[in-house]
Structures are given as C-alpha cells and as structure tokens.
C-alpha cells in the first residue's frame, strides 16, 4: 500500500530508493515496519521526517494497545472479561506457532539448508529450553554460524 502511494501515486520516492529502504529495514534490528517508515521518512525529510513517520505509525496504535491492556487488567475476575481474555490469549498462542513457522519456512529446502535449520533453530531451542542458556549468547552463536556456514540456496 505504501509503495503504491509513495512511488506511483505521489511520486515522492523512486522505486530504487523505496527498494533500498525496504531492504535495509529487513537488516535493522527491532520491528521492520518501523525501520521501513524511518527510512522512508529520512529519505523524504531527513531525521525529522524519520521521527514524524515513526510517530505517525506507532502513537495511535500504542494508545489503543494501552487501552486494551488496561481493560484486560480491570477485567480480571469478571467472567465475561475472563472469557474474552482467555480466548484472545489462546489466539496469541496460535500466533506464536504461526510466527515460528513463518520464520522457518523460507529457510528449508535442500539437505544442507534443512540441516542448518535443524542445527541452528533446534540447537537454540534446546540450549534455551533444556539448558537455560540466555538468549544473547544463543543469538550470537546463530549469527556466527550464519556467517561462516554458507547458505547454499534453494535447489
């Protein structure tokens, strides 16, 4: 939607600049969507543009999220609220499994790639679940394995 609006309709950005913002937002830590908005805002109006773009995306939805969490907290003990909270919490559990699936799916295919997925993702799971290793060293080892164990690409 943003691409159509910024590149085709308003012509504020060239498709090359849009693609650069998109690619770099994928390698920026944190929420990719926010990095993308910051990159687009910075290309349009510099640092102030980045701030305005990120605020425009986050402030209204953060207020809505706060209202929901406040309502959820107030509703503890109320049967109607507990029914709503219980089912949305279950939906979140489904969402987490879907996220795991979505992260892993592009990285499978081919013996070496499958082995990388099993060893890196499975190793991270075991290290955390079984041996209580904290996330930072696990992420660090994953990064090093990613750098030195070449991805052969999909066959």
């Amino acid at each position: 939607m943003l691409g159509r609006e910024l590149v085709e309709t308003r012509k504020w950005l060239t498709s090359d600049k849009f693609d650069l913002a998109f690619a770099l937002s994928r390698v920026t830590p944190g929420t990719n969507l926010l990095a993308f908005c910051a990159a687009v805002g910075a290309q349009l109006m510099g640092f102030m543009g980045a701030i305005v773009a990120v605020m425009a995306v986050t402030v209204p939805s953060a207020i809505v999220a706060l209202i929901f969490i406040y309502g959820f907290e107030l509703g503890q003990g109320n049967p109607t609220a507990m029914a709503v909270i219980g089912s949305t919490v279950a939906a979140v559990a489904g969402m987490m499994w879907s996220t795991i699936w979505t992260i892993l799916r592009p990285h499978v295919g081919g013996n070496v790639r499958n082995l990388q997925v099993v060893l890196i993702a499975g190793g991270a799971f075991l290290a955390s679940w079984k041996f209580n290793v904290t996330p930072v060293p696990i992420i660090g080892v994953g990064m090093l394995l990613g750098i030195f164990w070449k991805d052969p690409g999909k066959r």
Binding site: T28, T31, A42, I69, S87, T88, V92, T99, S128, I139
Partner: protein
C-alpha cells in the same frame, strides 16, 4: 522495577530481534524468569492486547512496560520499541551497498534461525498457560491455521477469538 530498567531490558530485547515476536524470548527471560515482574499469563495478555488493535507486532512492548511499571513503564516500552528503528538511518549511509553481501545475509539468516528456536522455547510455557481446555485448543489450532495459510489480519483474528470466547458463556 525502575523505568530505566524497563527501558534498557526492552531495548535489549528489541535490538536483538529481527521479526515481529522475535523479542519475546528475551522479554520472557528478563521479566518473567529473572525479575519475576510479570507472570507468563500477563506476558501472553500483553501480546494479546498489543495485537487486538492495529499497528506493528512489537506494540506488546508498550503493554509489558505498562504491566511492569505503569504509565511511565508504558512510555519506556514505547521508546524501546521505536529506538532501534532509527538505526536504519546510519545503516542507509553505511550498509547501502552491502545489503546483498553474503556474509551480512548469512548473519541475518543465522540470527533468524536462532530466534525461531528461542521463540519455540518461549512458546511452550505460554501455550501451556493458554491451554485451559478443548475450546482453547481449538482457538490455538484455528488461529495458527488462519494466520499461516490465509491473509487474515491478526486484529480480525483477535476480534473473532474474543467473540468466540463470549459465545462460550452462552452455552
């Protein structure tokens, strides 16, 4: 828990993740396991509140901040959410021509795979907490299917789950 601690813990989680809920394992480790500032149920509720409205996945950090330290905590969570986004500006300057470098791509792939394993580890206790009976199991399975194999917006899914929860009171 002090507001500064909330900010730095959430910033650490945000800085070491590259996908929507990728920060969740570290948030759980710091807030639930180590500091006991939240329970698993509160953490899952925070994620639910963050996804019930529109906006990016990371919004749950605002809710975690709120549960840990009230409104100042929510502001700290909000700042921790948006701070990493601005890293893209020096990245545009420095990494603009290196985004396709195989080693950079390999590093990101390794981080993503490790993050998936960590998320699996975090998902287990949170799923156990959510799994209160056959109805909850059905909601988990249906939401997994809809989010994975259709293009449904997660806000609609949350609304549907809430409505289904209300319906259970009638039967």
């Amino acid at each position: 828990m002090s507001v500064f601690t909330v900010y730095f813990l959430l910033l650490k989680a945000s800085l070491t993740s590259f996908s929507g809920l990728g920060s969740l394992p570290m948030v759980r480790e710091d807030f639930v396991v180590t500091a006991h500032a939240l329970t698993d149920h509160q953490l899952t509720t925070a994620v639910a509140a963050g996804r019930t409205g529109p906006g990016p996945y990371g919004l749950y950090l605002v809710c975690v901040g709120f549960l840990a330290a009230g409104i100042p905590g929510a502001i700290a969570g909000f700042l921790a959410l948006i701070t990493p986004a601005f890293l893209v500006i020096p990245l545009m300057w420095w990494l603009g021509k290196r985004a396709d470098n195989p080693r950079v791509r390999g590093a990101i792939r390794g981080i993503l795979l490790a993050a998936a394993g960590l998320l699996l580890s975090a998902a287990m206790p949170l799923t156990q907490d959510a799994l209160t009976g056959p109805f909850a199991l059905a909601v988990i399975v249906v939401s997994f299917y809809l989010l994975t194999f259709t293009k449904i917006d997660s806000a609609w899914l949350m609304a549907g789950a809430a409505a289904a929860g209300l319906l259970t009171l009638l039967f």
